[in-house]
Amino acid sequence: MTLNGWLQIILVLGLVLVSVRPLGLYMARVFEGQKTFLSPVLSPLEHGFYVLAGVKPDKEQGWLSYTLAMIVFSLAGFASLYAILRLQAYLPWNPQGFDNLPPDLAFNTAISFLTNTNWQAYSGETTMSNGSAMLGLTVHNFLSAATGIALALAVTRAFARASASTLGNFWVDVTRATLYVLLPISILLALVFVFTGSPQTLLGSVDATTLEGAKQTIALGPVASEEAIKQFGTNGGGFFNTNSAHPFENASALANYLQIWSMIVLSTALLITFGKMVGSERQGWALVSVVGVFVIVGIGAVYAAEAWGNPILNALGVDPTLGNMEGKEIRFGEAMTAMFAVVTTGLSCGAVNAMHDSLMPLGGMVTLFMIQLGEVLPGGVGSGLYGLIVFAILAVFIAGLMVGRTPEFLGKKIEAREIKLAMLAVLILPLSMLSFSAVAAVLPSVVATLGNAGPHGLTEILYAYSSATGNNGSAFAGLNANTPWWNTTLAIAMVLGRFAYVVPVMAIAGSIVTKKRASASAGTFPTDRSLFVGLLVGVILIVGGLQFFPALALGPIVEHVLMLSSKTF
């Protein structure tokens, strides 16, 4: 680890911190229906959309109707994306002449993009036409992020309102999230990405003659426009196979700063939006602090593990100064690779600027663990907010048990129904991650698809199901995931992780919104102080993390110990 490495990490964190408040307050205005500086341009467009779609913006929905709207919208998106991928050979913008995707890969990719997972069973530059990238992947990058934001708003309104029955209008929230938040910032980001070196063209590739006279075909396409929303919407499905490690997606150290900034800023700003809308910005900052604790400790752990280098290779004569450089790019270095890796897994983005399969055992374990904790840190756009709220509910419940008082969060009484639903949501993640992994690990046909033997192979399986269930989308990519088994089971895991999680959460919101708001008294446990921040960190670690420890011990931890004794597989 170097001082300059930490300076860079602090610099990017600082950039994020100064941006979250303006963005968070702006979003609060947008979703409370107030006028913003973009309204003169966007308001006519927005209302035109409502008229065509038959949406009455003033008509609000209860939790069930809101959730159903979300599910219908997702199903329509799935059908449309599946069709585009299956028919890409007949659609425009296919200069590469790519064939239609096979059914299992199209199914997996369609599920993956509509759940905001963006698992890459596909390899961008060898399977996806420019048309599929634009009409399919880019569109669903916007819509799955907008859906996540909408759900987060519904949960927010549950706490912001008292004795009410509705949570907002799903169609209005999705439309406003896309028009007022995602689109304007993506336009700016895309242009800056072009400036740093990302191509933006409708050509498929260009042929070069290298200095040694060989032919090199360089894949191109509308990269920057997809890249912007891929990062800003915490989607993470790359234009290219190697995602943000590819120089055309992430061209320089400065581009990398912007990539990290754009993936963390929106989810974190939503915590401020939450605070503002429930009437306590301080509550928002308390949640930001929880995120900060996990992100900073995580970065430190990965940075330390990677900068140390691989002792087996160092013993062969490799200079340890640069750290473990297998699967990493020179222009980013260890510090900004570690930061990217932790932010992308903590946030459920899933973009990668290094190959996580080649991380050191403990470095890889931290990224895996960040995914397994659930979408809480602060999760994919929107989903992080509600992931965090579920844990906050559990935290006040545990605090209530300790002192023998009825738990309250933001003046709302937390009762048996909410706790049951919260536990249901929290248990779905390990159930899917661990059960699928356990089955896969004993199937010989699955083990044959692994890229590495020994405990690292088990980690590949664990990572795949954790990433799919956590709707993350990054991978230990040595695993050949483009097989019918993986495409199908991972798609099921993605659906469980998104929908089986969100339905109980929305049911909680539906029950919370009807409750009266109790005013704070001397006996109220304050949820905007450091004591609560510490408690919440502890609850996330114990409730969200402990059940994964045995699996981690068999994978990365045992690999680390074996590596120290120079054992290879």
Binding site: A69, T126, T138, L183
Partner: protein, 199 residues
Amino acid sequence: MLTHLRPALVLLALFTVLTGVIYPLLITAIAQATMPYQANGSLIVSKGTVLGSTLIGQNFTDAKYFQPRPSATNTPDPKDATKTIDAPYNAANSSGSNLGPTSQALVDRVKAAIEAKRAAGVSGPVPADAVLTSASGLDPDISPENALSQVPTVAKARGLDQDKLRALVESQIQTRLMGIIGEPHVNVLKLNLALDGLS
């Protein structure tokens, strides 16, 4: 359910047009008009021929050129399409090795690469990036230490003075932006172009 069908389908169609057609085409139009160099892949063109992209590494095998990092990219085997063969710096199929830290294949590969370096006369610790593959397989850069360690080999192959060559490498080192941002590196294609200009 049915009451939700119309908004779902209509909004999906409208957003597909807005974010899937208008947005990328708008960005393409602005980028092509104002930043055509970057928008078309940062290409180096000489006398009508595209020599490569400054952002994409190239495979160099000749001893008279500075060597890039080893690359894990591949291409379908022309004899058997279900298999792949090594094709370093295949810019139409980016890929990392995805070998884990305790992989025997990784150890064997690094051992062979270090032996090759030793045979070329490199002594002492070998720069990590000279024997370890990048994430994309297309990393255009190497570390300054790696570039400097290759000076004797290239000087010998070209019959150039080592000090002159070292000065060339040093002039090609890109330092940290404002002294903080990024890592020092050397772009191999630019260095080799400058080298051809020198001879």
